[in-house]
């Protein structure tokens, strides 16, 4: 992982934009928006996960919930990514070698893979369990994986600030 030690990350910290964000109220502003957006990402995903587990909103078909909630997850994710990058560039070199930050990225990738597996592999058979209250074990596994991974992303994200 040589690239994590590259001096290029220091260059990122020295961009005029990085200085502007890091030295002004822009930083806490971006951070508070990041928390709200992240809470919306996890909140909207949580609603779908609980439905996959058969624990909530069982009167609604899974497709309906998914169609109505996933756009909110993505919209909030875009906002969280932009605000996150804004904070990242102010301390880029420290973040890339911060174990909490590295865990956060790994967990994000795993959460994304879990979601992709659901949407591209499992979702084809949606007609079989769309309205089921007692959902198949596979869905329960995907739903609980998603809950744990996203909670892990939050924990790692929160831990970043305790190490930096």
């Amino acid at each position: 992982m040589e690239f994590l030690r590259s001096p290029k990350w220091i260059d990122v910290e020295n961009w005029p934009l990085s200085w502007e964000i890091g030295g002004t109220a822009w930083f806490p502003f971006l951070e508070s928006i990041h928390v709200i957006a992240a809470a919306m990402v996890v909140g909207s995903i949580l609603m779908v996960d609980l439905r996959l587990l058969g624990l909530a909103a069982t009167r609604y078909p899974i497709t309906t919930l998914s169609n109505e909630l996933v756009p909110w997850s993505w919209g909030a994710f875009v906002i969280a990514t932009i605000t996150g990058l804004g904070m990242f560039i102010t301390r880029a070199a420290s973040h890339v070698v911060n174990p909490a930050f590295q865990w956060k990225i790994v967990l994000l990738v795993l959460a994304g893979a879990n979601m992709a597996y659901f949407h591209f592999r499992v979702y084809k058979h949606v007609a079989q369990w769309d309205t089921a209250v007692a959902t198949p074990t596979q869905l329960k596994l995907i739903g609980s994986m998603s809950l744990f991974l996203w909670a892990g992303v939050m924990l790692a994200g929160r831990w970043v600030g305790h190490i930096i």
Binding site: P28, S32, V35, I36, A39, G43, W72, H162
Partner: protein, 175 residues
């Protein structure tokens, strides 16, 4: 800051509550970030319940769901999440009480939180008086929209203010 407010901090300073909270925060490995994450997960539930309901009432989200049905289904999750957030928040509040009760942004947070809770409680209780309470007349639907707009603003400001407590100097002591 009004004196009655800052004096709560002084009262808690040196109490058993403070020593208990500080013990947990200092002794249990990883306790501060873990408790903060529990607090943010509570905020995620606030987003998935009252914020989502407000967005629904304003016609922006989950349009297949009915307002009254959503209210009955989601509110218990909200009240449990708030209870959890009072506990997770209390560790930090009791740990350094004078820090919070002398912090104007913490004052703001409570000033948003209290009306947010009362407004949501009022909305919840009214919806329990009659089936489809909010959908029965145009007048009630517009009342619900007014409440939703106010509620949305209040809850988002609670979350926003929470994060700014740590950055109080950016607002009160500009460079």
């Amino acid at each position: 800051m009004p004196e009655y407010f800052t004096s709560i901090g002084t009262l808690l300073e040196g109490s058993m509550l403070q020593s208990g909270a500080l013990w947990a925060l200092r002794t249990i490995p990883g306790f501060p970030p873990i408790i903060q994450t529990v607090h943010i997960l509570g905020i995620a539930v606030v987003m998935a319940t009252v914020v989502m309901l407000d967005l629904r009432i304003l016609g922006l989200a989950v349009r297949s769901q009915k307002i009254s049905e959503m209210t009955q289904r989601l509110m218990p999750w909200l009240w449990w999440a708030l209870a959890s957030n009072f506990v997770s928040g209390a560790f930090f509040l009791f740990g350094r009480p004078t820090r919070y009760f002398n912090n104007p942004i913490f004052g703001w947070k409570l000033s948003f939180l209290l009306p947010a809770i009362l407004l949501t409680l009022l909305f919840h209780l009214l919806s329990r008086t009659e089936i489809d309470y909010w959908e029965l007349s145009t007048k009630r639907l517009w009342t619900a929209r007014g409440i939703a707009l106010l509620s949305l603003g209040l809850w988002l400001m609670v979350a926003m203010a929470g994060r700014w407590i740590a950055y109080v100097e950016y607002i009160y002591f500009p460079a």
